[in-house]
């Protein structure tokens, strides 16, 4: 009864996805958490998605993950970021009611077949011959499992900072998994520290909303998951305020009391999400910084002021927030704080997120140096799928930089490591034009069905959609003369002859709406698919060019470099190059090219040496 194929430690976003993905693959899976009621808790910002992050949510969802559906269940505010730019960088984002989100996650987890929830504190890993064999709980219970996924977030050696105060633990009010942390340290894994922070939570009843600019939920009908038929909750609005000179002065006067500046926290924090004291310190000339006031739920008065994460003492926090317009009388319900925590250098992981040093042990989420629910969820999904596939002798879906942001992230982490908390950005994906948030299902669900990790409901949805796609293709290939379009007032020259509609869609001003006479009937069957196919048509020349690039890439992906590749023996490689490559242990020549700092000459040397070794092995 205490035996599993896959054991997942941690019930955060990574742990939930890992456990559910493993279970969907058919593995007997256990999910161990301190507190089963905390599964699905959102520890920071009550928002899911955003630029780059929205892509991850849609991809996890496309592989039948949890986060997209749970986000819809909790959503009280929908916003498509970057709407004015090309659709490949649109960022779907929702604000979620914490209670509803958590309830949805727990509902999905409890309904998942093959998944057992185990309440308890993970005390120590059981190892046999250097391999993972299971887990010992603090109460002495032994759980056997050949594959264990660590999703312990900031619980690993986490320390909270608030002004001069220090607390141990990951989130306020929970214990850090110290024994497990000691064990991992003892295993001599490459570890480092990072920091992150949260803002104070405000009582919405003490905010003067009337004087603030409102940001309503957008008026459209999209949802995070296509399996959510419509928006479920009442929609609320956010408000925008800003910090002021008076607040900045208060921060400056108290900088020495912030652990970030007193030297108490040495670890690197995220550059793209700096604390308010960082912003004031680095961009002192700015008159104010935008702050989004985001309601945390329908049944709570808590408000999350997005943009002022801080570790200043409570009294300073109070002074600062009260200098913001609309917040003159605001009450802080819970002060903000910074967390410094341990993470494993993700270059110690193979692309399936398994620790090279401890076979059978997988790591996902913040423990790998990332930040964000979405990043955590995506890694959890990968680790869960891979662990289950390994335990069952199956094949996980093949993800690469050309088919998913998920793979971009895993590749970046395992090859480049992190110097600050890793957050997804669309700029990280070189094949961004084909990796759109709105075509995640097209890219991934088919792969998921092949691998066996897609449930019946999504499978039925996907198959219906694929049939529709064929109808769209037929419609898009219909040839229409330029004259006809010009007569309709479209900006095309009359002498351009006859072209398929797909080609006309590349022209500026020729929108799917403008082609309604031909496309309206299929569009009505699935407007989202219509949008996706129109974008494919518009981007076609760029995608075709990338295809050629991808052929080259896949050719050098085909040249494998073993984990113990003798970089030290490659002639002409500098010590620095040898060190970088050894640490990152790229799986292929193409991956070696993405290891930072690796020069063209080094790459060529590697190519020749690897081929030489391969030839030698063939001859032997």
């Amino acid at each position: 009864m205490h035996s599993f194929d896959v054991l997942v430690i941690g019930g955060g976003h990574a742990g939930v996805e890992a456990a559910c993905a493993a279970a969907r693959m058919g593995a007997r899976t256990g999910l161990v958490s301190f507190d089963l009621d905390a599964i699905g808790a959102m520890s920071c910002n009550p928002a899911i998605g955003g630029l780059g992050k929205g892509h991850l949510v849609r991809e996890v969802d496309a592989l039948d993950g949890v986060i997209g559906r749970a986000a819809d269940a909790g959503a009280i505010h929908y916003r498509m970021l970057n709407r004015s730019k090309g659709s490949a960088v649109w960022g779907p984002r929702v604000q979620a009611d914490r209670v509803r989100f958590k309830a949805a996650v727990q509902g999905i987890v409890r309904a998942q077949t093959n998944l057992t929830l185990v309440q308890g504190e993970a005390a120590a890993l059981m190892l046999t011959g250097g391999r993972v064999a299971g887990l010992e709980l603090a109460d002495g219970t032994i759980l056997d499992a050949p594959r264990v996924v660590l999703c312990t977030g900031t619980f690993l050696g986490g320390v909270l900072f608030r002004g001069e105060e220090r607390f141990e633990g990951g989130r306020i009010g929970e214990n850090a998994a110290k024994r497990l942390a000691q064990q991992l340290r003892g295993a001599d894994l490459p570890m480092a520290r990072l920091k992150t922070g949260t803002p104070p939570r405000l009582d919405g009843r003490t905010i003067n909303w009337a004087v603030l600019e409102e940001q309503p939920s957008d008026g459209e009908a999209w949802t995070m998951s296509p399996l959510t038929p419509a928006r479920l909750n009442r929609q609320v609005f956010c408000a925008i305020t800003r910090t002021t000179q008076a607040g900045h002065d208060a921060i400056r006067a108290n900088l020495h009391r912030s652990p970030l500046f007193s030297g108490a926290i040495a670890a690197a924090g995220p550059r793209y999400c700096p604390s308010i004291e960082d912003k004031i310190h680095r961009f002192g000339d700015r008159e104010g910084h935008q702050v989004f006031l985001e309601p945390e739920g329908l049944d709570t008065h808590m408000v999350y002021p997005n943009g002022i994460s801080t570790s200043l003492p409570v009294d300073v926090q109070e002074t600062v927030v009260r200098t913001m317009p609309g917040c003159e009388r605001v009450a802080i319900v819970q002060p903000g704080y910074a967390v410094e925590y341990d993470h494993i250098d993700p270059r110690a992981l193979t692309p399936d997120l398994q620790l090279r040093a401890i076979p059978g042990l997988y790591c996902a989420g913040q423990i790998n140096g990332t930040t964000g629910y979405e990043e955590a969820a995506a890694q959890g999904l990968v680790a869960g799928l891979e662990a289950a596939a390994a335990a069952l002798g199956k094949q996980a879906p093949t993800l690469d930089r050309a088919n998913s942001y998920i793979a971009v992230m895993v590749d970046d982490l395992t090859l480049q490591g992190v110097s600050e908390p890793y957050r997804m950005l669309t700029a990280r994906a070189e094949y961004r034009l084909r990796l759109r948030a709105n075509n995640a299902a097209t890219r991934l669900t088919g792969l998921g069905i092949e691998a066996g990790c897609i449930g019946d409901e999504r499978r039925a949805w996907w198959e219906r959609r694929e049939n529709l796609r064929k109808m769209f293709h037929v419609k898009h290939s219909e040839r229409v003369h330029a004259r006809k379009l010009a007569d309709m007032g479209l900006p095309v020259r009359r002498d351009q002859g006859e072209k398929p509609l797909a080609e006309w869609l590349r022209y500026d001003g020729v929108t799917p709406e403008a082609l309604a006479p031909w496309l309206a009937d299929v569009t009505a069957l699935d407007p989202l698919l219509a949008e996706e196919m129109a974008e494919d048509a518009a981007y076609a020349p760029y995608l075709a060019r990338q295809d050629a690039e991808l052929r080259d890439l896949r050719a050098s992906e085909a040249l494998p470099l073993s984990a113990d590749f003798p970089y030290g023996e490659v002639p002409g490689l500098s010590n620095e190059m040898v060190e970088r490559l050894t640490r990152a242990a790229p799986g292929t020549l193409a991956a070696a090219g993405r290891v930072p700092g690796v020069t063209p000459a080094a790459l060529s040397a590697l190519l020749v040496h690897a081929r030489r070794l391969a030839n030698g092995q063939r001859a032997a």
Partner: protein, 427 residues
């Protein structure tokens, strides 16, 4: 590497010659040197040795050099045998080397390839080396040396950095659009892109390195008996003939490649231009002459004033002859027979050639590099005219990719094979 064969080849010109330099590179180079010379010479010091074959027979008395790796031209152990350059001697030494275990003859380009594989040179430098070794004139040598020294690589790195900076600005707009700091592209963005595109175009318009091989093409034209052949001989006779210009097919034109003051020229003497009348063979000759004129960099016109092709230099030749009719606007009046005016013409030719050939010491692009740079220029130019930042970013990424390929970062084996296929054995 023990599994890597040791290679050898004659590195100097084809025998017979005064000295024949045989290079040996690879793990067995030291052993091979000891086997032939009977002892191990001091590293990096020339010494005299008697070379003997396996049977002990004396092959030659030679200067031998020993360079232990990895700080050698190929990055491997390297030996050089400077023997006498007679055909039989070279053949005997090569045969003795071939008989040693683990040694074989080098394939074309293999020495350079190993230098590249061992990280001694990068791709642009390798190409520079290839050009250097085939250089026959001072100008070719200087251009090749510039590439070998990494001048092109540095230039490309500079462009790549600029594109990276531009990319960063677009990405900020794409990924942080909600931040006030990154709401829109700065005003100078398009201007900067355009400036880069212009700079790339200017580079593309520069003389290419192949031009150095072909030389500056000068065609002598005019009616029969205008003095073309006399002038032709006067121009080429005293100069060093060079042999590398593109393979000429047999044609009814005489072509000579020479270097004047270190600048490569190809001089062409055409059949006399006139109406062919009934003579079919001569008609063919004239057609070819016209084709030569079309691809000439410069035409020296020796015919009646104003009757030559546009842009031709009016030459008044045969100034020493009786009945010489001077041209009103002759650029040069000369007598090939007496040599009068010839020096001035040569100086002017060298000046004209220098202007149209790559400048000494300046990196020049070869065909491969030109293609990559064209790709980069197209992408940057496209980025300049696009409004969707997403597509701007994609074009800038394409430009970076082209730069990467130019300096061999995103290299494929095919490209390497093509590149190294053009080296001669032993280089």
């Amino acid at each position: 590497m023990s599994d890597l064969p040791t290679i050898f080849a004659l590195s100097s010109g084809a025998p017979p010659a005064g000295v024949g330099v045989i290079r040996v590179s690879g793990p067995q180079a030291g052993a091979a040197l000891a086997a032939l010379a009977g002892r191990m010479p001091d590293a990096r010091r020339a010494s005299l040795a008697r070379l003997r074959g396996a049977d002990g027979a004396l092959l030659d008395e030679a200067l031998v050099l020993w360079f232990p790796g990895p700080n050698t031209a190929t990055g491997e152990d390297l030996a050089e045998l400077h023997s006498h350059g007679g055909r039989a001697v070279i053949a005997a030494v090569e045969a003795a080397l071939a008989a040693l275990p683990g040694l074989r003859r080098a394939e074309p380009g293999e020495f350079t390839r190993r230098a590249f594989a061992n990280g001694r040179i990068d791709l642009a430098e390798a190409e520079g080396l290839g050009d250097l070794l085939t250089a026959e004139t001072e100008l070719q040598r200087a251009a090749a040396l510039a590439n070998l020294g990494g001048a092109l690589s540095r230039q490309v790195e500079g462009w790549r950095e600029r594109v990276l900076a531009l990319s960063a600005e677009v990405e900020a707009v794409l990924d942080f659009s909600d931040e006030e700091d990154a709401a829109a592209l700065p005003e100078c963005f398009t201007w900067n892109i355009a400036a880069l595109a212009d700079e790339l175009r200017e580079w593309l318009a520069r003389p290419r390195s192949e031009r150095l091989g072909e030389g500056f093409r000068v065609v002598l034209a005019g009616p029969p008996n205008a003095g073309k052949s006399t002038l032709f001989n006067a121009l080429v006779e005293s100069e060093a003939a060079i042999t590398s210009p593109i393979a000429g097919t047999t044609r009814d034109v005489i072509e000579r490649a020479v270097a004047i003051a270190g600048v490569p020229f190809t001089f062409t003497d055409t059949a006399g231009l006139r109406d062919a009348g009934d003579d079919a063979i001569e008609a063919i000759g004239i057609a070819r002459a016209e084709a030569e004129l079309a691809r000439a960099d410069l035409v020296l016109w020796l015919g009646p004033e104003g009757a030559g092709p546009a842009g031709a230099w009016e030459i008044a030749a045969q100034a020493d002859r009786d009945g010489f009719t001077p041209k009103a606007a002759a650029l040069y009046t000369l007598s090939a027979a007496t040599g009068a005016g010839l020096a001035a013409l040569k100086t002017a030719l060298v000046e004209a050639a220098r202007a149209s050939l790559p400048k000494p010491g300046e990196a020049a692009l070869n065909a491969r590099q030109y293609a990559r740079l064209t790709e980069a220029e197209e992408a940057v130019r496209a980025a300049e005219h696009l409004t969707d930042p997403l597509l701007v970013a994609e074009e800038l990424r394409r430009a970076r990719l082209a730069f990467d390929r130019l300096i061999g970062r995103a290299t494929t084996e095919d490209m390497l094979d093509t590149l190294f296929g053009r080296f001669c054995i032993g280089k």
